[in-house]
């Protein structure tokens, strides 16, 4: 009865005000969204223009030549990349480096050799693993000092966090370059650079894990009179270890890529060879290296993903939430 009454008449003043308010809220929200979008589009357009202006080659001038690289990359026959990959003698060998594949063989024992690219790939992977291990060690030790619920002192927490922040943000290339100047070219500058970044990155992820850990075990140990060391060892480590390992593996994936890149700027390993062979136009070698990299990185990713899923389940893939 009263419903029909309301429906027949105009809405009450309160309802009208509410509707007006809702409309204005929606309108302003839409305005913000549109404004933000317009700002983004403008920034994108300006950035694209700027990038095009300051590049050596302009986008539309270079576009017709875009696939030249692939055309240049075609080897003389399709067995060549395999010969390059396994350091077998090439029928096109004319004494130049371009076709002299056996030159790079790494002799193991009499009669057996390791193809150069496999050796360099092993070097790159070793760089990544060692650097990640160093990062794991220091990140592990530091994370208990930097987590709010375990830190022995507030100043220590602050200090360790700032160290992590700085190591994370510090450009790897500068650390590598500095140690190249001191130690000369080679893999060790790359290890130091990647390890430094990894300490910062893992340390941050680790202390976040520790902060989210269940405190009950720690409380029990505290009640039993355990000291700080014992509380960390028996109260936290068992709880956080699977997550730590998961992040460790994730970092390893990233570091295999990073060590390739650092290699290209003087850190040794396969990255250096890739850069050289591309710049010298050795197409078969380039294809061999790219294929090897593709296979290795995919294998490392798949293996790490499988292991992480076993360690922490699907949680390992909830990334950025």
């Amino acid at each position: 009865m009263s419903m029909t009454h309301v429906a027949e008449n105009r809405p009450s003043a309160a309802a009208e005000a509410m509707e007006r308010h809702w409309r204005s809220l929606t309108a302003s929200r839409r305005l913000y969204s549109l404004g933000g979008l317009a700002g983004l589009v403008a920034a994108l357009a300006a950035s694209l223009w700027f990038a095009n202006e300051t590049s050596a080659g302009k986008f539309f001038d270079r576009l017709p030549y875009f696939f030249d690289f692939f055309i240049d990359l075609a080897p003389r026959d399709w067995v060549e990349p395999f010969r390059a990959l396994f350091d077998l003698a090439s029928p096109y060998d004319d004494g130049s480096l371009k076709y002299d594949y056996p030159e790079g063989r790494v002799d193991l024992i009499a009669g057996f050799y390791m193809p150069e690219y496999f050796y360099k790939m092993l070097e790159t992977i070793n760089i990544a693993i060692l650097a990640t291990l160093i990062g794991l060690t220091f990140g592990f030790l530091g994370s208990f000092l930097a987590a709010r619920n375990t830190a022995p002192g507030a100043w220590l927490l602050f200090f360790v966090r700032r160290v992590f922040d700085t190591l994370r943000a510090f450009p790897e290339i500068v650390i590598a370059g500095f140690f190249v100047a001191v130690l000369s070219l080679g893999p060790i500058p790359a290890i130091i650079a990647i390890a430094a970044h990894t300490v910062g990155a893992l340390g941050k992820m680790f202390f976040e894990v520790v902060e989210n850990a269940d405190m009950k075990a720690e409380e029990g140990l505290r009640a039993a009179g355990a000291n700080w060391m014992e509380r960390m060892r028996f109260g936290f480590v068992p709880a956080v270890l699977p997550n730590f390992m998961s992040y460790f593996l994730l970092r390893l994936e990233i570091n295999v890529r990073a060590s390739t890149i650092i290699g290209a700027v003087g850190g040794g390993g396969i990255g250096e060879l890739l850069r050289l062979s591309i710049s010298q136009g050795h197409e078969a070698k380039t294809i061999a290296i790219i294929a090897l990299l593709l296979v290795t990185i995919t294998a490392v990713d798949q293996f790490s993903a499988w292991l992480r899923r076993r360690l922490v389940g699907d949680q390992a893939f909830e990334f950025g939430r």
Binding site: S55, R168, F178, G186, T260, I261, A264, R321
Partner: protein, 518 residues
């Protein structure tokens, strides 16, 4: 509460030993893992021959390079020329070529030079020679020095064999204003240098070095441990710690005076504003006479700052902006492309298994081709510059973001979609209102995360030629002399990374929080 007696416990342990004893792997897992890590580290130690590399490393160089990050050196040479002295600052000295500094003062008097003199061109060349190869270890032998000089400037006559050179121009012997005494204060030590004699006072120590070409450098007493002289008569090196060092040789005294800070950070020595105080520069800029009739002083000052020869502010800022732009555009375009592709890849959105599989393998491929390979490829395609860098980031991250997006899509709650479908919405509207509100915050958050991390990685792919500040950093490091420039760029990068970190974190928290509280 009933308690187990000791015998009960033993009986249970005997009966169900497997329950009470955890498997070996579980009990010693951490120990085994740690041992494996240690073994692996030892293997790497051998593989990379880390020990020998660390041994061969020149750690004193490391100290000098690190000092260069925050300090600079002035390297004047004071040469003995018979009865007078010749003070030379290198051409690119932080204080300029002809500076007036209070830590090194020269007293002049009107005398007749007794030594043969070169024309100023020869002098400059030989001082440049000693600047390029400062304190050559064999500096005490005149032959080695003159050969070093003639290597740098083959035609320049050097002091020891000037007389033998027929074409050498010799200045007439008339009385002139010449330097006869130099006072130098370096750190807590002070030097008084007169022809043939150097007097050093530091605290209570007072040492006199007598210098001549035949006997070399002779001291009047045993030397303290901060002065190094291999043999009587040989070159004497005075180490004064951070403030610098002084090398006394039989024909010259080379000074290395180190100062904390960045030299000529705003104006270089060629600028008319160089060496002026803030007040003076401000006075000139706002209402002084025009220094350059073609433009205002403000424009001149700004262009001098941007084109500072030592610091290259304009170029550094441009390259830094390129790096930022590379990360921004690369990530943004990647997320825009990855979004529709991820809809095709997600099993619950597009029910076409072969297509899902194909899209996922495509993402995997893009991720697995290293950013380095993309960077090298696009550097070939577009030439060095940010276009190459942003394309590399775009291609790698389309794969990564596509994979993450499709995984988030497959994990969505189906109830919202069912609800929208139940009221009779078209398939497009089901996606719009049933799916998008759930995943959009996650997508945005993931994109922001990659934007932030790409800002960091954009630095490094720049070094292979893909644009941005990476190459500039690398070049500055290769010379081993511009470590202060490296530090300057590092500070700029750190600021950018921290600022972007903060922006991205606050935006992400805003995106995530409403979802978390719901």
């Amino acid at each position: 509460m009933p308690a187990l007696s000791a015998s009960d416990r033993i009986r249970i342990a005997e009966k169900h030993g497997d329950l009470l004893r955890a498997p070996i792997l579980k009990r010693f897992g951490v120990v085994i893992g740690a041992a494996a890590c240690v073994l692996y580290t030892l293997y790497c130690w051998w593989f990379f021959s880390i020990g020998s590399v660390l041994q061969r490393a020149d750690w004193s160089i490391a100290g000098a390079y690190l000092a260069d990050w925050v300090s600079y050196e002035s390297r004047p040479d004071i040469r003995f020329r018979g009865n007078h002295l010749d003070v030379k600052f290198p051409r690119f000295d932080p204080f300029g070529e002809f500076p007036e500094v209070d830590w090194l003062t020269a007293e002049k008097s009107l005398i007749t030079p007794d030594a043969l003199e070169e024309k100023s061109g020869g002098g400059a060349a030989s001082s440049a020679g000693s600047f390029m190869a400062p304190g050559a270890p064999s500096g005490s032998s005149a032959g080695a020095r003159s050969s070093a000089d003639s290597f740098m400037a083959p035609s320049a006559p050097s002091s020891s064999n000037a007389g033998a050179m027929a074409g050498a121009e010799i200045v007439e012997s008339t009385p002139r204003e010449l330097v006869t005494k130099v006072n130098a204060a370096i750190g807590d030590a002070s030097f008084v240098i007169v022809p043939g004699r150097v007097e050093l006072v530091r605290g209570a120590t007072r040492i006199v070095f007598s210098v001549d070409e035949t006997n070399g450098v002779i001291t009047d007493r045993p030397l303290p441990d901060w002065i190094e002289q291999k043999a009587p008569g040989a070159i004497a090196r005075v180490y004064l710690g951070i403030p610098g060092r002084v090398e006394i040789d039989d024909d010259e005294v080379s000074v290395r005076h180190r100062f904390l800070g960045w030299e000529n950070f705003i104006f270089d020595t060629d600028s008319p504003f160089w060496g002026k105080s803030v007040g003076e520069v401000a006075g000139l800029v706002f209402g002084g006479e025009r220094l350059d009739p073609k433009r205002s002083n403000l424009a001149l000052a700004w262009s001098n700052i941007l084109n500072n020869a030592e610091w290259q502010h304009g170029d550094v800022w441009l390259k830094l902006l390129q790096t930022i732009v590379m990360a921004f555009v690369g990530t943004l375009l990647a997320s825009l492309v990855a979004f529709p592709l991820s809809l095709l890849a997600a099993r619950n959105i597009t029910s076409n298994r072969p297509l899902n599989w194909l899209m996922k393998r495509f993402f995997d491929f893009q991720r697995s081709v290293d950013m380095l390979i993309w960077a090298l490829f696009f550097t070939r395609a577009f030439g060095p510059g940010p276009l190459a860098g942003m394309s590399a980031i775009f291609f790698t991250d389309t794969g990564t973001l596509g994979k993450l997006f499709s995984e988030s899509l497959e994990n969505i709650d189906d109830k919202q979609r069912e609800g929208v479908r139940a009221v009779g919405a078209s398939p497009a509207l089901v996606q719009r209102f049933g799916v998008t509100p759930q995943v959009l915050p996650v997508f945005l958050s993931q994109t922001l995360y990659f934007w932030e991390s790409n800002t960091r990685s954009a630095t490094i792919i720049g070094a292979v030629g893909a644009g941005g500040i990476g190459l500039k950093l690398w070049e500055a490091m290769r010379t081993n002399q511009d470590w202060e420039n490296v530090f300057y760029m590092v500070i700029l990068i750190l600021i950018v990374v921290f600022v972007f970190d903060a922006i991205s974190n606050s935006l992400r928290q805003r995106l995530i929080r409403p979802q978390g509280s719901a």
